[in-house]
């Protein structure tokens, strides 16, 4: 049982002051094994927060990040599932899902985690796998889209060929959790 957190676009401190308090209370050390941050943290303090969760942290560079050190894209294999991570501002046109699917095929991953979009969305393309967009953890907007105002992130439970996703959204100061079980019918294309 492996818990993977997909989160991003916090925009702290340039867009928002901090992670919402209810989210902070839930994200405690010891529960999550991997953290995938899509980008736009913006500063080191946020990175240190994620590292303090005691998990292995993967970060890609967003367009508003201060540090230049994060890679552009990442592919990680966990528990038999290959996950790809990219911020998403590189995908043009921005709101086009086909571009994401093409990138997923290009990277050859089962699950592609992208950010940059304000809504939290999980879709399953026809050739299997998952496209995960955790949205903005602080509900801020980005350079292109207006903000949805709903802070959100995604937690994934990798169980072999099953992926159980929990979508956490802060709507009117209430944490709403949605649980969906996906079957990753895998057809990864070798790179």
């Amino acid at each position: 049982m492996v818990l993977v957190l997909a989160i991003g676009d916090l925009n702290v401190p340039y867009g928002a002051a901090a992670l919402p308090e209810k989210f902070q209370r839930m994200l405690v050390p010891g529960k999550i094994q991997y953290v995938f941050v899509t980008g736009n943290l913006n500063t080191r303090e946020v990175e240190e927060f994620f590292v303090s969760l005691g998990a292995e942290v993967f970060i890609t560079r967003g367009d508003l990040d201060v540090t230049q050190e994060y890679p552009d894209r990442l592919v990680v294999s966990i528990a038999g599932v290959s996950l790809g991570l990219i911020h998403g501002h590189q995908l043009i046109p921005y709101s086009d899902s086909h571009a994401a699917i093409a990138l997923k095929r290009d990277m050859g991953v089962d699950v592609l985690i992208t950010g940059f979009q304000p809504e939290c969305k999980i879709t399953q393309p026809e050739d299997g796998g998952l496209l995960v967009c955790p949205g903005s953890a602080t509900g801020t907007n980005n350079t292109y889209f207006p903000s949805s105002g709903i802070p959100s992130f995604v937690l994934m439970d990798l169980q072999g060929s099953r992926i159980v996703t929990y979508t956490y959204m802060l709507i009117h100061d209430d944490v709403k959790v949605e649980r969906i079980v996906y079957d990753k019918s895998v057809r990864t294309i070798p790179t």
């Binding site: 209370r25 529960k31 169980q159």
Partner: protein, 469 residues
């Protein structure tokens, strides 16, 4: 009132320790002369007491003094036996009044024998008879036979069986054993299955409860009834337990395959008592219990029955550990109970051995540093398995409430054995002496004998508690 004082008079025999039965055991004196004499002491003990009732206090003192000097008295038993090698039984009899105090602290039965008066063969026979022969096992007699001398039969099966009876796990009626064991073992297995919570649904395994609350359950939940929250809490407890179990009994190779079982036992116990949970130290207690029951599970007929026999041993060890910890759990959590016990022990040390107590006070060596470990672990870490098992035989044969009281005397005896070294050492050397001596079975036996002597010996604070040395 006067009789009590008489019995507590310190008789001026500085070397009487040499002549005690314990010393005889150690130095392997001629038991053929000693044993019949000892038996006659037990038989004549009643007559000596009856004779004393008619004498005035001063006459009684005179008797006692004459008795000690071995010049003989009006006692018909002693008068008929003279000779240097038989002075020992007379010294033994002068200790009889004191020993009577000890015997009365044990459960009284009409089979009124004292274990010290029985030769080894007789004790073994009576033990086998008690354990295997009768339809109704007399647990009091069993306890008396095991007291101080340990389980006579050297077989591990006998020890495991004795411990189960002494813990009250097995009933006295032999016919009920099978059903009781089967019921208890199933109970344990069910508990294990219940407590190993897996918050994920597994394909093929149905969720027994269709709890609406579970619909909203998620890994980051902090709700009270969340299975995920419980799972993470359990993981934390299990990690602590595993860390301790890996360090348990490092010298004992035979214990390594039992680590997983011990972890399971401790986890089930911890989950049953969420307030106390698991505390360090319970692993040592559980380890001894499990090792003894595992060794005592008998010869397996086949591979599958070997597994189930090991599982049964694990279940038995769990319930017996529960029994011990019923009385002892408070020493793991309750601060006031711990402080009370430490104070009692410090008082005992002060009362019985003032020089040593003052020495420790000067070094600022509080009893908490050594006594708490002895109390919680039943001296397991200070003896190897063979010695520890003897001490456990002794402690299990006493009643649960008496165990705590005897522990104080065991601690006192332990200090007395190292007294001269302790008195001339500084703090660090003292601590080293009081930790992990790793002594064996002979040392354990000596400790038990000393504790018994201390329990009834008169106080002489100026020369140390065991004034005979």
């Amino acid at each position: 009132m006067e009789e009590v004082e008489l019995e507590n008079i310190e008789l001026p025999h500085a070397e009487s320790r040499k002549h005690s039965l314990g010393a005889a055991f150690e130095s392997r004196l001629n038991t053929e002369t000693l044993v019949p004499a000892a038996r006659s002491r037990v038989e004549n003990h009643g007559t000596v007491a009856r004779k004393d009732q008619n004498r005035t206090p001063s006459q009684k003192v005179g008797d006692a003094v004459r008795h000690a000097k071995g010049k003989g008295s009006e006692d018909p038993g002693a008068a008929s036996r003279q000779g240097p090698e038989l002075n020992e039984p007379q010294k033994v009899s002068s200790q009889e009044p004191q020993r009577r105090a000890v015997a009365s602290s044990m459960p009284a039965r009409e089979t009124n024998f004292h274990p010290h008066a029985l030769p080894a063969k007789v004790r073994q026979e009576r033990f086998s008879q008690c354990l295997h022969g009768d339809a109704l096992v007399d647990v009091d007699v069993l306890a008396r036979l095991v007291w101080i001398w340990g389980v006579p039969e050297d077989a591990a099966v006998a020890r495991a069986l004795t411990w189960k009876l002494l813990c009250g796990y097995l009933p006295e009626d032999r016919a009920l054993w099978e059903s009781t064991l089967a019921a208890k073992r199933t109970e344990y297995r069910n508990r294990v299955r219940e407590l190993y919570v897996n918050p994920q649904e597994e394909e093929g395994v149905e969720m027994a409860r269709n709890d609406p609350a579970l619909e909203d359950d998620h890994p980051l939940s902090t709700a009270a009834n969340s299975r995920w929250a419980q799972y993470f809490k359990d993981s934390a407890i299990r990690e602590t337990i595993n860390r301790d179990v890996k360090r348990t009994q490092p010298e004992l190779d035979g214990f390594r395959p039992l680590e997983e079982r011990l972890a399971r036992i401790l986890f089930v116990y911890a989950r049953q008592r969420p307030k106390l949970s698991y505390k360090q130290g319970m692993n040592e207690l559980g380890a001894v219990m499990l090792q003894v029951f595992h060794d005592g599970r008998g010869v397996p007929q086949s591979a599958s029955s070997a597994d189930s026999a090991a599982d049964d041993a694990e279940a038995d060890a769990f319930f017996c550990l529960e029994h011990i910890l019923e009385e002892y759990a408070r020493f793991f959590g309750d601060e006031s109970a711990i402080q009370h016990e430490i104070d009692e022990f410090s008082q005992l040390l002060l009362f019985r051995d003032k020089p040593l107590s003052d020495h420790f006070a000067r070094l600022k060596l509080d009893a908490r540093f050594y006594y708490l470990r002895w109390l919680r672990l039943w001296l397991t870490q200070d003896f190897d398995m063979a010695g520890a098992v003897l001490i456990w035989d002794f402690l299990l044969s006493t009643s649960p409430t008496a165990r705590v009281r005897w522990m104080r005397f065991l601690g006192l005896a332990f200090l007395q054995q190292k007294r001269t070294q302790l008195l001339r050492s500084d703090l660090s050397v003292c601590m080293k002496l009081l930790l992990h001596s790793g002594s064996g079975r002979a040392d354990a036996f000596r400790l038990l004998r000393d504790a018994e002597l201390l329990q009834c010996a008169p106080p002489d604070r100026s020369r140390g508690a065991l004034a005979y040395r």
